[in-house]
């Protein structure tokens, strides 16, 4: 299915991270996406005034794997070791709507035609929501890159945006994938290293403590928020069934009750739409917010890891230098190596400090915006519900 997302919708969605895509010199968006079986094809559209690009405006089709390639390439770039690399967008996950579709197929026999149609509608809405979400996270990933002074100039980034052929050749082949996998495993072992390394800088000491703790908390909150959203969705589904059954009862009823039942059925149909909106808004503003920053914090932790590694390297180089001086052998190489490590470490620390401070600011702003918007939406939906309900009550009482 194709989805063309209008500007309004995108504005609503583009809220997880703020202040993106404001620089007219490089504007990126994903106006379009196609879903074929399980593969999603994104249309990446770029508008730029920069001379480094061949054309001022162009679009290319990209798959999820291409985004992952770009991300991993950036992570592996030595020069960016001191930066928080924006987290890779998660793989499009249609598991939930697919499961629902399965259940719907099984339960078809027990439902009326209208009920089935409504459930199908609900299912399609969920499919669409997942779809929109995945487009959003992919888009934000690119926009984070384009907003970053250093990363936006990355050559691979440019290739990603511009190259009008299939990127598959440039992507990791199977062996390299495996290598990446292994690296991840080693990395988690080294995370212990972060905690273990003696920190010299107060700022980083604090950040380390904070990020490690915050990560686990936010991960938990994300999971719990997701469960809340799921329960809301279940309630919306129940309202569908209730509405449909009330409708069936009303068609069979010949008394004055008939009108009451029709009104009631109608009410539940409207309520379920509102409940559905409550669920999806909560998901976007709360769950997605938490999920995004969970990943972002992981990226920040990765930065700390890299710095800790650099520190470890520096300390090892110091030890090597001492050994060399003791043995009076290869002293210049050792000195050079030590200098090199020190420089690298200093550069990482400086850039890291900047990045982490910026990150905190970004995080606070995003939380503020989303919490405000969520509260406002909750109020709006509750008012809507109250009006619908009161209207029905008045109608019932007057008859």
């Amino acid at each position: 299915m194709t989805s063309t997302l209008d500007e309004n919708n995108k504005e609503k969605m583009r809220s997880v991270s703020v202040d993106l895509n404001n620089d007219a010199s490089l504007l990126i968006d994903i106006p379009d996406a196609l879903c074929e079986r399980d593969k999603v094809k994104f249309t990446v559209h770029t508008k730029t005034t920069l001379s480094s690009f061949q054309k001022p405006e162009f679009s290319v089709p990209r798959q999820h794997e291409d985004f992952i390639w770009l991300h991993d390439t950036l992570v592996e770039t030595e020069d960016y070791a001191g930066l928080i690399i924006p987290p890779a967008p998660p793989k499009p996950d249609f598991e939930s709507p697919r499961e629902k579709m399965h259940k719907l197929g099984e339960g078809e026999a027990t439902m009326t035609k209208e009920e089935y149609a409504k459930m199908k509608q609900e299912l399609e809405a969920e499919y669409l929501a997942v779809f929109k979400k995945t487009v959003q996270v992919h888009e934000i990933f690119l926009q984070r890159l384009s907003s970053h002074p250093m990363l936006s100039k990355d050559r691979n980034f440019q290739i990603f945006l511009e190259y009008d052929q299939d990127l598959t050749v440039r992507r990791k082949n199977a062996k390299e994938m495996f290598g990446g996998f292994f690296k991840n495993m080693v990395k988690s072992a080294d995370e212990v290293l972060i905690s273990g390394v003696k920190e010299v800088d107060d700022f980083f000491e604090q950040e380390k403590t904070f990020l490690l703790d915050y990560y686990s908390k936010i991960k938990d909150s994300t999971a719990k928020a997701e469960k809340m959203t799921r329960a809301h969705k279940n309630i919306a589904d129940d309202y569908i069934h209730i509405s449909a059954t009330l409708n069936s009862i009303s068609t069979d009823d010949g008394t004055a009750n008939k009108k009451h039942l029709e009104k009631l059925s109608d009410l539940f149909e409207k309520l379920r739409k509102v409940e559905g909106r409550v669920a999806s808004d909560q998901e976007l503003k709360l769950t997605e917010l938490l999920r995004y920053y969970m990943r972002d914090i992981q990226a920040a932790k990765d930065l700390l890891y890299r710095r800790a590694r650099a520190l470890a390297d520096y300390e090892n180089s110091n030890k090597a230098l001492d050994k060399a001086r003791l043995k009076s052998k290869d002293i210049p190489q050792a000195e050079e190596h030590q200098q090199h490590c020190l420089q690298k470490f200093d550069k990482l620390s400086e850039s890291g400090k900047k990045e982490l401070t910026g990150f905190k600011g970004r995080r606070v702003v995003a939380f503020r915006k989303n919490l405000i918007e969520m509260a406002e939406l909750e109020i709006k939906h509750a008012k809507n519900n109250a009006t619908l309900l009161q209207g029905c009550i008045d109608l019932l009482k007057s008859n």
């Binding site: 069934h241 069936s248 995080r363 109020i379 009550i393």
Partner: protein
């Protein structure tokens, strides 16, 4: 259908206790036009055993004897009947409930009276603004261990003149309610009255209470039961005929009530009930009735459909209750998690906002919990009650079928006897002939009377059902409307609370800098 065995009328109390819907031993009404007779004795029930017709012969024998037993009722009834026939407010009557051994006959079922008494009842219904408030409250555990039980306080506030006082209360236990229903069912179901069903037993639920677990689920169970008992009583007294039944009056008023033993699930009465239910089901399948009255066919179909739809709706609402409870739990968990996140957050203003968020979510989880209760006690239980009520309605239709069957059986038997008589005429054995002819003639006379009675019974039950269904449908519409409005109001309240909570949170979120 020759019946030979004749059981002696069970006169001992114990036997009666063992029987439920089965062997109702009401003598047939005597000459219909005699007012002074205790004519308020309903026609006999077709016992739910398959040897139903067999019972018929019993009553033909000694109507006088059975009347003698019922003498107490006679004196009891006449003043009551006078009350019904008069228009003005009736003097208070002190019902003397007979011992359990004799099941109280109900009112006005003789041909002549039914019509008028029904009208009277309706009139009285319109005259009395139905002023009766019953509450079931203060569940109290009595006793220990497996013999423990819950005693409930039943308080009645009324200006209905049937009662001695305006306000009174008694202590009752669950089996008392079941006993009341059992008595009412045995008296009224088979003649077409829709008797509200009693709440269901729950061995598991009750055992937990007995064992003394003072936890959330056993408290919920007691509350659920208390609420169900209250609704059951209210429905019962709303029925104009049932309200005046001495057993109902005794239940509400008298401080001592003999224990209803036959309601125990595992008693012999319980087993008998199960057997009867099974026999019922089989019989129902084999009765093929020629429905001449379109009204009945239409209504039966209507109730069949309604049954299916209500069950479906009930299931959906039960699912809603479950999910709402889930939402409450999940919200509570999220609240805790958000609080921890707030603690962990090092930006002061954001930290505070997150803590506030946690507080809001905690309040909201309580809101969802309360809403789930409203979902259950108002909506779900209403539907559950009506699913059971419709089963009672369907039962009443079934009784009509049985009545018809009985009438038809009688006719068939009569036919056979007539044929036998004709055969005898052609027989050439003069010595046996006269005796046989006389016997057959007598039998035919009896059967003719029975067939005639069967036809009247059938017409009577059809008439009663029509009225009952009309009343039931009216009640149903009113009931649904009242409770649904209440339920919707609970939903409105929840939404308004949500608005309040989020409104309070908004400035906190905006304060993040």
């Amino acid at each position: 259908m020759a019946d030979t065995a004749r059981e002696p009328p069970p006169a001992e109390s114990t036997d009666f206790e063992e029987l439920e819907d089965a062997e109702e031993l009401f003598p047939e009404p005597a000459a219909a036009d005699n007012e002074s007779e205790p004519a308020s004795l309903p026609a006999e029930d077709i016992s739910t055993n398959s040897n139903g017709p067999k019972q018929d012969s019993l009553f033909d024998d000694d109507p006088e004897d059975l009347f003698a037993e019922a003498t107490e009722e006679v004196s009891l009834d006449s003043p009551e009947r006078d009350v019904l026939l008069s228009d003005g407010p009736s003097p208070a009557i002190t019902p003397i409930t007979p011992p359990l051994s004799v099941i109280t006959p109900c009112l006005g079922h003789d041909d002549m009276f039914t019509h008028s008494s029904f009208d009277e009842i309706e009139e009285e219904e319109l005259n009395d603004s139905f002023d009766m408030h019953i509450s079931v409250s203060d569940p109290e555990k009595v006793g220990d261990g497996m013999n423990a039980y819950m005693a409930y306080k039943v308080t009645t506030k009324t200006s209905v003149s049937l009662f001695k006082r305006d306000e009174f209360s008694v202590k009752r236990r669950f089996s008392d309610f079941l006993g009341l229903h059992s008595k009412l069912a045995s008296k009224y179901l088979h003649i077409g009255y829709i008797v509200p069903p009693a709440p269901e037993k729950s061995i598991v639920g009750m055992t937990k209470v007995k064992v003394g677990k003072e936890d959330q689920s056993s408290n919920e169970f007691v509350e659920k039961r208390r609420s169900a008992l209250e609704r059951y009583l209210l429905r019962t007294v709303k029925h104009p005929v049932l309200l005046k039944d001495p057993d109902v009056l005794q239940f509400l008023e008298s401080s001592d009530l003999p224990r209803a033993v036959s309601t125990q699930a595992l008693s012999s009465a319980g087993l008998l009930r199960m057997v009867n239910k099974a026999a019922d089901a089989v019989n129902k399948m084999t009765i093929k009735m020629n429905e001449s009255d379109a009204w009945f066919e239409e209504k039966q179909q209507h109730f069949e459909n309604l049954d299916v739809q209500l069950r479906k709706l009930h299931a959906s609402v039960e699912s809603l209750v479950c999910h709402r409870k889930e939402l409450s739990v999940n919200t509570a968990q999220f609240a805790k998690s958000a609080a921890m996140l707030g603690n962990s957050e090092d930006h002061t203003a954001l930290s505070r906002a997150l803590s506030q968020l946690a507080e809001v979510e905690e309040k909201i989880d309580q809101l969802h919990q309360d809403q789930a209760n409203a979902d259950f006690y108002l909506f779900s239980e209403l539907l559950g009650d009506y699913v059971r009520l419709i089963a009672a309605v369907k039962g009443v239709f079934d009784h009509r079928m049985k009545t018809w069957q009985k009438w038809q059986d009688g006719q068939m038997l009569l036919q056979k006897k007539r044929e036998a008589e004709a055969k005898l005429q052609l027989n050439n054995k003069p010595d046996k002939l006269q005796q046989a002819k006389d016997e057959i003639k007598e039998e035919i006379e009896e059967l003719e009377a029975k067939v005639h009675q069967g036809e009247r019974d059938f017409e009577q039950i059809s008439k009663t059902i029509r009225k009952e269904v009309g009343r039931f449908e009216k009640e149903r519409v009113k009931d649904f409307k009242t409770i649904i409005i209440k339920y919707l109001e609970s939903l409105v309240q929840t939404q308004q609370q949500l608005i309040k909570y989020w409104d309070a949170f908004l400035p906190e979120a905006k304060a993040i800098s």
